[in-house]
Every structure is written in structure tokens, then in C-alpha cells.
């Protein structure tokens, strides 16, 4: 059977890995290359890189880093951040990315998903949605979680999948950084709305949170986290062992 995936996420700014707490107060953690090799060696199933650099120089640095990572790390790599055109897909795929994650770029121009899916295949296109509760609704936020688009999350995610997104990353702004567990309510809604893999993001603070995620929603495909992995609060080999002991299929 297919295994549940554990995915460390690396936010990269000016060539370094940073991680926001509720998307603010960035801390410098480590070198993307070293961290990637470390994660691959200890059993991460995939790596996600978000380029949170705004400048053109930073962007070039990011693709250099990605190229270096892809020369030594042989697990699937997903890249997001600043993906606004099909040319942006091309830019990161050439550097060794396997999947490209779109967020604000797709909100501005949903056709980007359709075009990219036609050109590179659905499996290559990941929709990443930053979602927050507003007035009893789940709303999609843009620009790194700063701007309320006014759009409801579930119809938006469905539209993205209909347009060809092959995977959905659900990042709950409400639980992000709080380390009190994944947003099970939101994830359950998304899981039942689409028939492509769904990756849970935001809120993991302990091994138990991952066990709860896969027990509560057996069809969820992957759990993603950043700081708890970067700071060694959760060690991936320990996490996988615990998941296995709890009857959850993982790659050892």
C-alpha cells in the first residue's frame, strides 16, 4: 500500500531557511542544502521549498540553491513561492523540482493551473491554500496569509482540482505556529471535497499530532511541518517509528 508521507517544509529567504510563526517574526535556521541532505538521510519522504524572497537577486540565488539540492538529494522536491507564470514553472523544473506549488499566482490567474497542468501534467501542479476562519466561513488568504481574498476555501480548492491541480496543500492559518495539532475540521472538509492527495499543514507540535491526523482522517496523504523539524523537536525517525507502531503505513 501507498505510505503516508512526512514532509519537512523549508521557507527560503536570501539563501537561508527561515520559518515564520503565524507568518511573522522570521528566524534564521540553517542552510537549505545541509538541511535537505539531513532530512533525506533521516527518512523525509519529500521536501517542500517555499521561496519567500521578493528580489530578483534572491530569486536567482534560490534557483542556484535548488539546483545544488537536486544534485545530492534524491527524493521528490516541491517548489513554491513567486510562481506566477508557466515560465516560472519552467524555471524551477529545470533546476530539479518535481512539483510546483501555486498560491497567490493562481488566485490572481486561475488559468495558470490549467495551462501548467496541460503542459507538465496534473501530477506536477500543487495548489497550496492558506485558509483562515472568517465569519463562520473558511476563507482563502493570499500573499503569504496576509490578504483575505473573500473567497470560500472549498469551492476554490474544487475549482483548482477541476483545472488540473494534482495535489492540495491545506495550510491552516488558525493552527499554524500554535503547535496544538493539525486543523482536523478543515482538513476533513477538504479531504471529502476532492479526489486528489491532500497534504495537511499548520499546527504540528508533537508526534501525537501526526498520529491523530492519520487516525482521525485515514485518507489524508501527508503531514507537512517546518519548525518542529528544523529545531529537532520532532525527529523524523522517531515520528515514523511511532506512526508504524500505531498501525499507520510509512516508509521506514
Amino acid at each position: 500500500m501507498i505510505t503516508k508521507r512526512i514532509i519537512p517544509c523549508l521557507d527560503v529567504k536570501d539563501g537561508r531557511v527561515v520559518k515564520g510563526v503565524n507568518f511573522a517574526g522570521l528566524n534564521d535556521v540553517s542552510s537549505p542544502e545541509r538541511l535537505s541532505e539531513f532530512y533525506s538521510a533521516c527518512g523525509a519522504d519529500e521536501l517542500v521549498f517555499y521561496d519567500i524572497t521578493a528580489s530578483a537577486e534572491g530569486r536567482a540565488l534560490f534557483t542556484d540553491i535548488l539546483t545544488k539540492v537536486a544534485r545530492t538529494v534524491f527524493i521528490p522536491l516541491t517548489v513554491g513561492g513567486g510562481i506566477n507564470t508557466v515560465d516560472d514553472f519552467d524555471r524551477v523544473l529545470k533546476c530539479g523540482a518535481d512539483k510546483v506549488s501555486v498560491n497567490s499566482g493562481a488566485i490572481r490567474n486561475p488559468e495558470l493551473i490549467s495551462e501548467a497542468a496541460r503542459k507538465y501534467g496534473n501530477q506536477c501542479v500543487v495548489i497550496s491554500a492558506d485558509i483562515k476562519r472568517v465569519d463562520g466561513d473558511f476563507r482563502v488568504f493570499a500573499k503569504g496569509g496576509r490578504v483575505d481574498t473573500g473567497m470560500s476555501a472549498i469551492p476554490w480548492i474544487k475549482e483548482c482540482v477541476d483545472r488540473g491541480a494534482g495535489e492540495v496543500v491545506v495550510n491552516s492559518i488558525d493552527t499554524d505556529g500554535a503547535k496544538s495539532g493539525f486543523d482536523i475540521e478543515l482538513l476533513r472538509l477538504v479531504r471529502s471535497a476532492v479526489k486528489v492527495p491532500v497534504i495537511a499543514s499548520g499546527g504540528a507540535g508533537s508526534v501525537k499530532h501526526f498520529i491523530d491526523l492519520f487516525k482521525e482522517i485515514p485518507d489524508i496523504d501527508a503531514g507537512l511541518a517546518a519548525s518542529v523539524f528544523h529545531f529537532g523537536e520532532i525527529k523524523i525517525p522517531d515520528l515514523k517509528r511511532a506512526l508504524k507502531e500505531n498501525g499507520i503505513t510509512v516508509r521506514m
Binding site: 544534485r71 527524493i75 521528490p76 530539479g96 486528489v196
Partner: protein, 202 residues
């Protein structure tokens, strides 16, 4: 020297990098002379069968590959590159493959339980069906990375490994000097690299 055949289908960066990391002398080329000079051939591929076989044919590379394989050169097809080795594919139509292996490529849709997601994407365990030098470094339960919506069937004479996804899907084939992997060894961490290393030494 190992040649990775470049016929404009998919991204060969990781594949080349994986061989380089193993110290192999590897080139990416669409040049008939380079392919003829190579000791071994990698046939990669992602995307749709119909497009890929058309591109291979329009570049005249189908004949080159078949000729080199008939000379006894070892070949590994990867993902869609493996599917191209079979006689036929029923991916959105009906296509003639290279016919280097017996078997056909068919959709998963309708032949696996409907609650399972298509594509079959992610890490899944290899189940060995036969011992083969390419699987020397693979142990029971070892996982590799799959991304595909179609699979090969009717290839019992070459089948060396499967993966369970509603049914046992063809994961790896090998017969004489022709082999194929449905999964991506270049994205399958140490297990995948062990298979590529075994190909280098095969």
C-alpha cells in the same frame, strides 16, 4: 558510458544527477552516434504515451534504440520510458510501442477499486517476483516513488517486481538485456540509487 536519451519528454536533470552522484560516466543526448557509442541506454519519459512515442519516432530514435538493443546493449526504461518498451498502449487511444517486451499498457481506471486515487502517486513497497541483479540491493518492504495512471499487464515473462495498489501493479520488468522501472529510481532515495548502481554494474 551511459546515455540518457533526450527526445524532448520531461526533465532529465535529476536522472542525470543521480547517475553522476554514483560516479557514472553519463551523457544526455539525442545524437545517434553518441547512442551507438554508449555502453548502456536509459530511456526516460513522463507525460502521455502517444506524444512520447511520436517524438521518439519523428527523431528516428525508435529505430536507433531497437537496433542498439538488438546488438545486446543493456537498456533501462524509466516510468513512461518503461511503458514504451511494450507492444501496445491504450492510453487515450491505441498506440504501438517499441515491442521490445511482451505486454500492453492499460489504464488503472476501472481495474483498481474506485476509492483509490489515480494517479498512483507516492512511496510504495516493492514486492519481488523474481531475483534479478537489478534488485540485488532491494530488501522486502523497501519503498520506491511512483507517479503513474497507466500500468503494464500481460508481461509475466519479464515481471520482476510489483507494488500493491488495489492489485499488484507492474513495478519492474527485465528480460535478457532490456529492463524497465515504472517508478522513479532517481527520486527513490537510497533504494532507487541501489537499482541505478546495479544497472551501472549490470
Amino acid at each position: 558510458m551511459i546515455v540518457i536519451i533526450d527526445y524532448g519528454v520531461g526533465n532529465l536533470f535529476s536522472l542525470r544527477s543521480s547517475f553522476e552522484s554514483l560516479g557514472a560516466d553519463v551523457v544526455v543526448s539525442d545524437d545517434e552516434e553518441v547512442i551507438a557509442r554508449a555502453d548502456k541506454i536509459i530511456l526516460p519519459g513522463v507525460g502521455a504515451f502517444g506524444d512520447a512515442i511520436a517524438k521518439l519516432r519523428s527523431a528516428g530514435l525508435d529505430k536507433v534504440v531497437i537496433r542498439e538493443v538488438k546488438k545486446g546493449k543493456k537498456l533501462l526504461g524509466i516510468c513512461l520510458g518503461m511503458q514504451l518498451l511494450f507492444e501496445k498502449s491504450f492510453e487515450y487511444g491505441e498506440w504501438e510501442g517499441l515491442g521490445l517486451l511482451r505486454g500492453t499498457v492499460v489504464p488503472m481506471q476501472g481495474s483498481i477499486p474506485s476509492e483509490l486515487m489515480i494517479p498512483h502517486i507516492g512511496w510504495n513497497a516493492l514486492i519481488k517476483k523474481r531475483e534479478h541483479p537489478l534488485l540485488a540491493g532491494v530488501s522486502a518492504g523497501d519503498c520506491v516513488y511512483f507517479v503513474h495512471s497507466f500500468y503494464a499487464e500481460g508481461c509475466e515473462d519479464s515481471l520482476i517486481a510489483t507494488a500493491e495498489y488495489g492489485k499488484e501493479l507492474t513495478a519492474m520488468v527485465a528480460k535478457d538485456n532490456v529492463a524497465g522501472a515504472q517508478f522513479h529510481p532517481e527520486k527513490s532515495s537510497s533504494v532507487g540509487l541501489s537499482i541505478l548502481k546495479a544497472f551501472i554494474d549490470w
